[in-house]
């Protein structure tokens, strides 16, 4: 016989499972925890009491003090006489966790509702840009393949819509691709090739499976030799990359007029500079090629003028063709 527990099991049963962003957020949190591993762990309780729920959004006064202290320590060299090696290592781990988590938070899907992201990447000779299903693949300095070499790539993104434009080294626009992904994962792409006067449109439904029963997304490929820019633009790309947990703050540097926090990595992003006021990226050097291609970022308010830049009009006379594979 059905009882009150069975009825309760149906209550809010429609609540969906974790989104891609929730997975990425959790991976970032675990990666941050991994990077803050300390030699001496606190004593166990079973199960452990957490450090408090608002760690990602509302840091405690002590946490802020520790983080500020850590950032100061990055700028001001520590005195070896006053700092024990273990304490310095723990402090460094804490500041890594703090900075990386703040950047991840600033670039989360929810935060992407607050700005229009702009990024411009100058590519070394031999780079290839190719429209793929649901993203544009940028392979810096590969020098391979039949496609002409790309000079730079500009991307715009806002709330699940991304636009990627490829330019030649002489500044001629050759490709526009607009990709929109809704909350359920359904995707629409419109591409225009100015090289041959063609355009295409693709639509793909959300991934199969009822809400709340979806499996984990494919693991983020950490590092790699190319960048797949999708509807989330560079914000999504960097957010995912930070989840790999290979990034460490490395002091301050003045970049583009900002006294930016420098974060170094081994793969994916060789260096990332973020604005200490917003934790949004200012500049990145990609680790994809020997030349370390540079990407500069701007984060604009979602005004009508900036949103209009996400549009990809199809010029009159262009011929519709099947989408690239």
């Amino acid at each position: 016989m059905i009882d009150e527990i069975e009825v309760l099991r149906l209550f809010r049963d429609e609540m969906p499972g974790p989104s891609t962003d929730a997975w990425a957020r959790a991976r970032s949190a675990v990666a941050a925890a991994r990077s803050e591993e300390e030699p001496a762990r606190p004593p166990c309780s079973w199960p452990p009491r957490s450090r408090g729920p608002g760690r990602w959004r509302l840091l405690s006064v002590a946490g802020v003090a520790a983080a500020v202290g850590g950032l100061l320590a990055l700028v001001l060299p520590a005195s070896p006489a006053t700092r024990a090696p273990g304490a310095a290592s723990a402090q460094r781990a804490r500041e890594t966790a703090y900075v990386v988590s703040r950047v991840a938070q600033a670039l989360s899907v929810r935060a992407q509702h607050n700005f229009v992201g702009y990024a411009r990447t100058e590519l070394p000779p031999g780079s290839v840009v190719a429209a793929r299903a649901g993203h544009v693949q940028v392979t810096p300095g590969s020098g391979a393949g039949p496609r002409p070499s790309a000079g730079s790539v500009v991307s715009w993104s806002y709330r699940g819509t991304g636009k990627i434009t490829e330019y030649t080294a002489t500044g001629r626009r050759v490709l526009d691709e607009k990709i929109t992904t809704d909350m359920a994962g359904a995707r629409v792409s419109v591409g225009v090739s100015y090289r041959d006067g063609t355009w295409w449109r693709t639509a793909a439904g959300p991934p199969p499976g009822p809400p709340g029963r979806t499996g984990p997304p494919a693991p983020v490929r950490c590092g790699g030799r190319d960048a797949a820019i999708g509807s989330g633009g560079w914000a999504a790309l960097i957010h995912a990359e930070l989840g790999c947990g290979r990034y460490t703050p490395a002091g301050r540097q003045r970049v583009d007029g900002v006294d930016a926090i420098k974060i170094t990595g081994r793969d994916g992003l060789a260096v990332l500079w973020v604005d200490p006021a917003t934790y949004l990226p200012v500049r990145a050097l990609l680790a994809f090629a020997q030349e370390r291609p540079q990407t500069d970022f701007r984060w604009l308010p979602p005004a009508q003028a900036s949103l209009a830049l996400l549009n990809v009009p199809v010029p009159a006379g262009f011929q519709q063709v099947p989408a690239p594979p």
Partner: protein, 202 residues
């Protein structure tokens, strides 16, 4: 059962690779548990913090004291507790719901779901009246599927305490649903016992 759990990787999370496997297996249900309690806006933070805490304290997990699942739900429940006001607010909103439901044909499962939607305001009101301790125990049982022993391990309480709290919480829930006939899956008028509304399965 225990052998199955261990074979599936339960009980070994000290190694980062084992932790990754545990993360992939347990993150979706733990996320949903939190999301059902405090809503998706807060769940993202709390679920991330649950697994970050678990990673930091993975050396403290002892398979002999309870399953990995119960350990993770214990961390999640502790985190949810500090969002009491958000949980109460969500329950208050659900308690004010007046669901509009088109009655579908046939299919018991659909009928049950529709009836559950009709019951949602009462369930929310009942949950809102429970103490934190009772609610933790009840929802760990109903939504996370934990046994008395697992709940006791998760919340660091005795098995007897878990059992009695669950019993009291269930009684409170039944009281709120007093005129609902679980056998016939209908509401009855308290005085006459006559079926009123609901979705009879005759």
């Amino acid at each position: 059962m225990e052998g199955e759990r261990l074979a599936a990787g339960e009980g070994r999370i000290a190694d980062p690779e084992d932790f990754e496997a545990a993360f992939r297996e347990h993150f979706p249900p733990v996320y949903r548990f939190i999301s059902r309690r405090v809503g998706p806006a807060i769940a993202e933070d709390l679920a991330a913090e649950t697994f970050a805490t678990a990673y930091r304290r993975r050396a403290c997990f002892e398979p002999g004291r309870g399953s990995l699942r119960s350990w993770l739900y214990g961390i999640a429940a502790n985190l949810v507790r500090s969002h009491w006001r958000a949980e109460q607010h969500l329950l208050a909103l659900d308690a004010r719901l007046v669901p509009e439901v088109d009655l579908p044909d046939g299919c018991d499962e659909v009928t049950q779901r529709v009836t559950a939607a009709l019951l949602a305001p009462r369930l929310a009101a009942a949950l809102g009246q429970l103490t934190r301790d009772q609610r933790d125990v009840l929802l760990l049982h109903a939504w996370a599927g934990l046994s008395h022993e697992e709940i006791a391990a998760a919340l660091q309480i005795g098995a007897g305490t878990a059992r009695s709290r669950l019993s009291r919480a269930r009684a409170c829930l039944r009281e709120q649903l007093g005129d609902f006939d679980f056998g016939l899956w209908v509401f009855r008028e308290p005085e006459t016992g006559r079926v009123r509304g609901g979705l009879g399965r005759d």
